[in-house]
Symmetry: none
DNA sequence: GATGAATGAGTCTTCATTCAT
DNA sequence: AATGAATGAAGACTCATTCAT
């Protein structure tokens, strides 16, 4: 009954797992985790209820998997092609800009990450693991502080502030007003980071 | 059975409504809106299930009422005793500091506000109304931009950024590490606002 | 607080008990017994919830009392001024006509009686007692059968058929269509009774 | 666990939907709509609470479905094999007799129909739809009036009276007393219809 | 007598999850 | 692997009734 996308050789038909994750992303950000029935996710994804539980043992595993996959995609995007030999400041700026670009291209994923950041809906184990994948940035921050590029405060201070400011920038770019001045907002926002 | 708060001379025994709001605040921030059964709220508040629905027609009205009351308390606290004849910059700084002080004294309320800001769990009507009560700050920002105290960007830009930075400061003050440097963090954070 | 109808000397202000019965009559016929909360009855009657339970020990006693009072009112109306020395046929016809007249004047009460006739909502004791008050008619029927005015069938047959036909007549008179021919309908209906 | 109705060759094991309708019929007529918990219906039907709501979206849909299915069954039974070329009077008499026969065979369904006729418990849409399925009888009545077989009154008059009289007959046949004279009662009752 | 806040058992309904096919 | 009917525990909310004032 759902076999209409079979046999597509070389096709880029999304697999069932991807369709489920996509539907979950949309519905979780729109209505929240507990307010979204798994039945709605499977319907939206065009699969049966049984199939959802074939790919994810339970609802928790679904949101955890979604969180992890988005965070990993984001981190990969930010680090991509980063040349470690470049000056610290350039690496930082490139990272910020790549993040902003990714965020503008994936507003739904940003909303998801913002909404479920520090949320009791994501199991702690996953939250910890996602955090660890971030080492690269942390190292960069430490270097930047040592080199005087970032102000002399604990790394944690910069981690939090950078997250807050970049989130603010994306929120501003999301609302249409002043979309003309996007570049100005990005520049001003990033300037705040460097003090 | 209802007489336990009788006679307490000079007592400030909370009424049932307050106890319900208090329990809801704690549980909603800890577990989330949908993950918190109304039965748990009433139990925590020490009232019957019927009583909860006597004060709030439904669960939605409960979280809406909570959101509104906290936002109003916060706004009142920030504006309190503000002398309009003072220079704009002083008014702004005072406001930020008062907000931070309120936030440190009421970490649970801050978590609630952060968590349910832009959340589909708060009905739009209430979100709009809460926003309108904020006019005072908006006026102040407009004045500050005109006077060159805040950079020349749309008010909305400053609203968002101030919110993000103040939230970041409170998050940092909440975690114990570097609590010694609280003043330094506050100073650095506020400095970011003024560019 | 509700004392505004006090002291009316010679007034025909309805007492609280009557107001409660009136509200119950309206709401029970409109929505049904179980679908009508006692809180709605007291609100409609303009009394407090406590007052309702002051006059009626519980909801069951309320509908039982209502049923009994309406049935008694109806029976009294039908028997009123009946002169036992009149011929059986005249007595019968008078009774039918008096019932129809009462029914047209009290459509809500008719609906109530029709709706709760044989209903599990009226306690059996009350149903039995109401039935007993009807002896008078039963005697009349027995006489009529003996005199050949009603066909030679069990009394019960005539009791049921008379009830059905009179109810039918009232239903027809209730709907506007053919209101012009009210007398024709009544005549035809009563003719059916006498075969 | 669901295999209990497997393989039964020639078996007419009722499906879950039928079992639910059967239980609802019994309980609604016995205790009334609002007085019957859905939990009791599912228990009586031998299915889980979830299953009931799998077949009927809510309690209202259950009673509506029940009402419609019984009315349709009754109408089908009454019309069955009716030969339109027969004389009007014969068609009418056959219809009445078929209805009475169906009613004696299905006393519970008759009670249900009687009890929920004009009841606010059946949604208006369904009541209207059920009424429309009755066109056949209406046509027959019109013809009978034209042919002088029924007295010269509005069709509605005859519809109501026929319904009342047939209901009365079934009520009488239901009570044991005089069961010997069943045929006499039927004959006398039908005679009333034709005046 | 009158009030209405308080109670909590009981109701309808939802939904994550299972499992026979 | 995929399906979707079936399950039943759990949740939001109602409402008859009580009782302190």
């Amino acid at each position: 009954m759902t076999g209409q996308d079979d046999g597509m050789p070389g096709g880029h038909e999304e697999g069932r797992r991807e369709r489920i994750l996509g539907a979950a992303l949309y519905l979780f950000t729109t209505s929240g985790f507990h307010a979204t029935p798994t039945s709605q996710i499977s319907r939206e994804a065009g699969v049966s209820t049984g199939t959802l539980f074939h790919y994810f043992p339970d609802k928790q595993a679904l949101i955890d998997g979604l969180y992890l996959s988005i965070k990993q995609e984001m981190i990969a995007e930010v680090q991509d092609e980063a040349d470690p030999s470049l000056p610290t400041r350039v690496l930082l700026e490139q990272g910020f800009l790549r993040y902003i670009a990714w965020g503008r291209a994936n507003p739904e994923k940003v909303r998801f990450l913002t909404q479920f950041h520090h949320s009791p809906n994501i199991s702690e184990a996953v939250q910890t693991r996602a955090y660890e994948e971030f080492r690269w940035i942390q190292e960069l921050f430490i270097r930047a502080i040592r080199e005087g590029i970032l102000s002399d405060h604990p790394v944690h201070y910069h981690q939090v502030m950078v997250a807050q400011i970049l989130t603010g920038i994306l929120e501003l770019l999301g609302t249409d007003e002043g979309s003309a001045s996007a570049d100005a907002i990005i520049a001003a926002g990033i300037a705040k980071i460097f003090q």
